[in-house]
Symmetry: C3
Subunit: 206 residues, 3 copies
């Protein structure tokens, strides 16, 4: 009887692909949440929370796999860091939804939809990049693209905060909205951190 072994590292790449898909799913729920009527929000916040748990499970599965593997496709600590950074993205997206829900925020300022659009693009690039981790040298454009999106997100964020500070909103309302907007900006930064780890792996392999 012959067992065919999966090629080395395959398990890792599968787990990272799962984490990437999970991120894309969480940004999809975020998009729905931002456009949804108030009474649909709790359901979506609950679905988001499930995705956050699924993200935690993916991270733990990767750490377990690292502990059980004698040989890893890249440096152990980079794989571990990549798992943590992917987890951070979902954490920030989940926090944004949770805050908006908790604080009973009404309508979002329009810039928020632009933030979510950019996160959607970053999520798709990331979900797309993870299954190609085996050839990190090909992922240089991923790093460049994510950095470009992060720069755009930065511009959107600054315009949004200017709007919040324009005097159109009450101070407490500003603080509530800013918490949400800040978490979305942190999610954009977290995508950049993901791309940075991928780039570190690419640099080491080059």
């Amino acid at each position: 009887m012959v067992f065919r072994r999966k090629p080395r590292g395959r398990q890792f790449f599968d787990l990272f692909s799962t984490a990437g898909t999970n991120i894309a799913a969480s940004v999809d729920v975020l998009r729905e949440f931002v456009a949804a009527p108030l009474d649909r929000r709790p359901v979506l916040a609950a679905r988001m929370h499930e995705l956050e748990n699924a993200g935690d499970d993916a991270t733990h599965a990767i750490v377990d796999q690292l502990n059980r593997s004698f040989i890893t496709p890249f440096d152990r600590e980079d794989l571990y860091l990549l798992a943590s950074r992917l987890d951070d993205v979902v954490d920030h997206v989940d926090a944004a939804v949770d805050f908006a829900n908790l604080y009973g925020i009404g309508e979002f300022p329009e810039g928020v939809a632009d933030q979510v659009d950019l996160l959607g693009k970053a999520a798709r690039l990331t979900a797309d990049a993870m299954p190609r981790l085996a050839a990190p040298a090909d992922l240089t454009s991923f790093w460049i693209d994510i950095n470009a999106l992060e720069n755009e997100a930065d511009q959107v964020y600054r315009k949004l905060v200017s709007l919040l500070f324009s005097g159109r909103y009450e101070p407490l309302e500003v603080m509530k909205l800013k918490e949400v907007v800040d978490e979305l900006e942190s999610a954009a930064d977290a995508f950049e951190d993901v791309a940075d780890v991928v780039q570190t792996i690419a640099v080491k392999e080059s």
Copy 2:
């Protein structure tokens, strides 16, 4: 004449144990501070500041030891990073106390005591883990427990911020309290960073 050498790395583990004990002491002062009458606060803030200095000294002692050691029990950079992360915990706890003192905050919202309780648990786990660093594989439960506490702290934090934003407090009061509450949340995150470095060491050694 025979000199008995301490087992390799013993000096490092002793220094990390000192840093862990110092963290536990700083969270004890924090707990006292939060419950203390206003006129006792400056004394406690001063004591906290001494502990922050002691933390700096412990960090510098570890870096010195790294510079003087030809062989280190784990990767130099991980030991260096662990020292920095432990230092971060005390910095955030000190900042919380310093802010509360500087801003003349009166009574704390009740959720703050819950934040402090969770920090107390994390501090005890950390003080307990440091002397066992020599066997990092046994510290997997430390990583899991700290992560669980951080999740709890996150829930407490979100409820607290909801309370601050509920309209019960004036905007400036909200900002002051939020600074303190944010530092305590950052302290909880910093414990997670400590656990992450320990886990990185464990992963490399596995």
Copy 3:
């Protein structure tokens, strides 16, 4: 025909020197901005933005060089991390100027000039340290000095925030000023991160 090769790593040290000089230039513009009349600010914000772009270019040049080099003077990932951290400094300085400009902030509270002075000192130390990277062991005093400046910056920051929370300013004005003051504090922290990477390199080389 004989080609004379630059000594190994020379290209890297030149690129890091450029990044260091760029940081010093950006803090110079920041100092001018803080003292400038309102109508001169947009010009200075535009000049700052050019320096931020120049910083991005320097970072990309270093990453390119890392990708093209078979041998690097220190661990690839540390050089990559150092480039990122230097970039962070300019990002925070640029954000402070951009926010102040966007929010139409009038006069700055006096403590801001103290923040800028300390950033100026840190920038000069950093611009000075980068050309000496080839001998990282000699840069221990750099790490100590930057850490001392960061502690001073922390004190200035805390006093400034106390002033902002003192009741002298309207809540929305407090929020605007605090964004700027926070970015300057983050710039001081970013210098510490730069020094930490340099120290990591020094520890590994020792």
